[in-house]
């Protein structure tokens, strides 16, 4: 029966998430993705040991399912974290409009908002940090890895007949 796996996963996820919130706040977001992987897997390991030590029945199949579940959860959680760490331009506009309240946002205020939110620079910096582009003497180039990424994406977009949008 999978009842034990279900409770093992609930306890591991709740513990892992609480520890991750605590660690992220203390470390001001430094290593936020690595800590998510470490703490959620660490929680599963600890809870599994506690279950086995207290005599709760867990088979090898149960453990495999639990590991697959936690790794899937880590992937989903990291995808959500990307949206938390990096502001989405659309949501930033929405937040600026919310902050403006009923009087709305004038074009002048919109200009100030744009100056305070260097999205393009931040994304280019992130691409350089992850090694997807290199900048040399004012020229920006793809790396071997990003060339492969773009090739794979092109197959997908051709399959779906999606036109490349700009801007």
């Amino acid at each position: 029966m999978y009842q034990n796996v279900f409770f093992l996963l609930i306890l591991s996820i709740v513990t892992g998430l609480c520890l991750h919130v605590f660690s992220s706040r203390r470390r001001h977001g430094k290593g936020i993705y690595q800590m998510a992987i470490l703490l959620l897997n660490g929680s599963l390991f600890t809870m599994t040991c506690l279950f086995l030590l207290t005599g709760i029945d867990l088979t090898f199949e149960h453990l495999v399912i639990a590991v697959v579940f936690i790794e899937s959860f880590v992937a989903v959680y990291c995808l959500i974290l990307i949206g938390v760490v990096h502001d989405s331009p659309t949501l930033a506009i929405v937040k600026a409009l919310m902050a403006a309240g009923p009087k709305g946002l004038s074009d002048q205020e919109l200009d100030s908002f744009i100056k305070a939110h260097p999205f393009v620079g931040a994304r280019l910096e992130a691409l350089q940090t992850t090694g997807d582009v290199v900048v040399r003497e004012g020229v920006i180039s793809l790396t071997t890895r990003s060339q492969w990424i773009v090739r794979i994406l092109s197959v997908y977009t051709r399959l779906l007949r999606i036109d490349r949008e700009r801007g």
Partner: protein, 164 residues
Amino acid sequence: MTIFMAIVIILIIAAICDLLIARLSGKRLLGYMASFLITLIGLPLVLASVISPVDIYAIVVALGIALMWWFIYLNLAQAVESSLRIRMLREIDAEGGSVDIDKLKLIYNDDRLIRIRLKRLEDGGAVRLKDGRHHLNSGKLEKAAHFFTALKRLLLNRRSQFDV
């Protein structure tokens, strides 16, 4: 093993349906909805028919795994279609793999980026332009902004990526 097989088969069917709907109708949202419903309804039905006796916890755990992988697929598909970083990579590729950074910044600059998105929001009715001022007109977007701001405050103790 039965559980994994069921998850993999259902996810493959869901992804194929999404791709077919997208290719034939061009409506992405319809494809996403169909693939989500296939996963949500199809997997419990398949598992209930192959697991004997029916174990509700096994179905819940399997459904959790399948829905998480559907969410991962959705995010990857969305990133290909709308991520700013992916668009910049494809722009550089279209220029032959290298481009002058000033040329790239003519297409991808903050002013253009924000104004294109604001125009899209206005075209979709989420933002209204009245007396030269932009007003928010979408409860859904307001909720999404609240959700991500709350998570950002909880995890990073700040409201924006650009907070000093």
